[in-house]
């Protein structure tokens, strides 16, 4: 990372020199664009908070339904992320560093859930793991049903979030200088030792960035969850589903839940940034 950062900053300096003609119009436009985008993103978020304060809907945040939904979201996204890190890290390493037949096809496959609408993902999961699904039919023989369970929520989250982790991790592994690892091998470390002591630490910032993106995607997951896992408080009703369910009954509760998930996501993001900041 240090090497890469230095290269980047050198490049940046070179870029500045090139544009030192002072293209003020271009920079003015860029500033305007940034202001517009920042305003567009902050205004709705601000509106959520204004509503919560003015309608005094704080109380809805402490409702049992809100607590259940928040707890379920924490639990499922935590499990999903753990699964993604355990499976996704070695998978990304293979995809990035080993040139095997079918590598490109697998790379493309890994990206598929990003472009697939979540509702389509939900239907697909249902047709695979539902009671009459391709696999579900056999699972059912053994008395295993997945739909309407918390397991189904985790499956939906892993499905939609996997590409975000795997893609970032693979980029991290691919950008690494293989010479450093080879030096480790020359110095007598085993392959596993090199992976854990050199490769992983070097790729760490990319892994953290990927994990954060994947977690955020899992937290926001709605379409695949409601279609594949169903909607029941405490079992499959994560925060996004609870917001949707409340939208037609109790707008205050829907707003309060939105603020709650906003605060939760923001806290996690800041904590991760703080813990992994470059010292």
């Amino acid at each position: 990372m240090g090497i890469r950062a230095r290269r980047l900053s050198e490049k940046r300096r070179a870029d500045t020199r090139r544009s030192s003609g002072g293209d003020t119009l271009a920079s003015g436009l860029a500033v305007a664009a940034l202001a517009l985008l920042a305003g567009f993103i902050s205004l709705p978020i601000l509106s959520l908070i204004v509503w919560t304060v003015s309608e005094d809907s704080w109380r809805a945040m402490a409702s049992p339904q809100a607590r259940e939904a928040l707890f379920l979201s924490m639990k499922t996204t935590g499990i999903s992320l753990a699964i993604l890190i355990v499976l996704g890290t070695p998978a990304a390493y293979l995809l990035a560093r080993v040139d095997f037949p079918g590598n490109r096809a697998l790379n493309a496959l890994m990206d598929l859930p990003v472009v697939l609408p979540p509702s389509a993902a939900g239907i697909a999961l249902l047709l695979a793991f539902g009671r009459f699904g391709l696999v579900g039919e056999y699972l059912n023989v053994f008395g295993v049903t997945l739909t309407f369970t918390t397991v189904a929520v985790v499956m939906a989250e892993v499905f939609v979030a996997a590409p975000f982790y795997v893609r970032q991790a693979a980029t991290g592994f691919a950008e690494m200088d293989p010479d450093v690892e080879e030096a480790g091998l020359v110095d007598g470390a085993g392959r596993a030792g090199v992976f854990f002591r050199i490769t992983l630490p070097l790729a760490f910032p990319a892994l953290v960035a990927g994990a954060l993106m994947a977690w955020a995607r899992a937290l926001g997951e709605f379409g695949a969850t409601i279609i594949f896992a169903g909607n029941f408080p405490g079992v499959t009703q994560t925060i996004p589903l609870a917001i949707f369910a409340n939208f037609q009954r109790d707008l205050d509760a829907a707003v309060a839940l939105s603020v709650l998930v906003l605060g939760f996501a923001f806290t996690v993001m800041l904590t991760v940034r703080y813990l992994t900041r470059e010292r």
């Binding site: 249902l126 539902g130 009671r131 009459f132 739909t147 909607n231 029941f232 037609q248």
Partner: protein, 272 residues
């Protein structure tokens, strides 16, 4: 770096071009049909999907140049949409409570009319994995029951039925049934589809949801008449109607003999 940059710009331009092309195609198509001058927007309870679909075809045939745009969702969703200003000409609800709320919110023009009635049944998958032979069986432990969300008419009627059943069967019947629920669905059609796909063991639906297309996937189990509730469907034209005359014509069609015949064919009972 600059290579990827130019590639990115190229893809963006390509995307813009494609969007433009499709937009052009769209407008060309629209100009071909300039004679299509009026649109009637109907908001209808999801149980009306098939009957109103057929009536929409009839209406378009009888009124050349008019296009019927119908949105089928739970009456509670439609009510929420209207409260937030969704533009529409007609509202057809599956219970009187939602129509009453619409009247109280000053959304309705004139008096709502009852145009159909319906009855609830229990829907189970064809292979009936939980072996539900009669209504009482939905209280058996382990039955995977799905029900529409609170406020959705089919769920409100179901709760009424369960209240009556509790008095008759006693022994926490209602509680036993409610504790069998594994998922709350957006509307009655979504609940019935859960059964059709086989993931749920049972749901509350209407007799009109036992459509020909579902008959090879689901079975219906009757709810005893003394426990059942008659679902009442009111219809009204809306204050914000774009074309009150067309809205009136739709109401006339739905309440006409022809309209009632179509509704009856789709499993509804006559209003009167």
């Amino acid at each position: 770096m600059s290579f990827t940059c130019s590639r990115l710009i190229f893809s963006v331009l390509l995307l813009a071009l494609l969007t433009n092309l499709s937009a052009c195609g769209g407008s060309g198509e629209a100009s071909d049909k300039t004679e299509r001058k009026a649109t009637l927007t109907v908001l209808a309870a999801s149980s009306l999907t098939d009957a109103f679909g057929e009536l929409a075809d009839t209406f378009e045939r009888e009124n050349p140049g008019v296009e019927v745009k119908a949105s089928y969702e739970s009456s509670s969703t439609l009510l929420a949409q209207m409260q937030q200003g969704a533009p529409a000409d007609v509202f057809a609800a599956a219970d009187e409570a939602k129509m009453k709320a619409a009247v109280e919110e000053n959304l309705v023009d004139g008096e709502p009319e009852t145009f159909a009635k319906n009855r609830e049944v229990i829907m189970v998958p064809k292979d009936n994995p939980a072996s539900i032979e009669e209504f009482r069986d939905v209280a058996k432990p382990g039955v995977k029951l799905v029900l529409a969300e609170d406020e959705v008419p089919v769920a409100e009627y179901a709760k009424e039925i369960l209240g009556k059943a509790n008095e008759e069967y006693g022994g926490g019947f209602e509680e036993a049934v409610m504790s069998n629920i594994v998922s709350r669905e957006a509307d009655v059609r979504a609940s019935v589809n859960r059964v059709a796909l086989g993931d749920a063991d049972a749901t509350f639906g209407y007799t009109s949801d036992y459509t020909p297309i579902l008959r090879d996937k689901v079975e219906s189990v009757t709810i005893p008449a003394d426990l059942n509730t008659i679902a009442t469907y009111p219809i009204a034209q809306l204050k914000e109607a774009n074309d009150p005359e067309l809205a009136r014509k739709w109401l006339d069609l739905v309440t006409s003999e022809k309209g009632q015949e179509v509704l009856e064919r789709w499993g509804f009972e006559p209003a009167a």
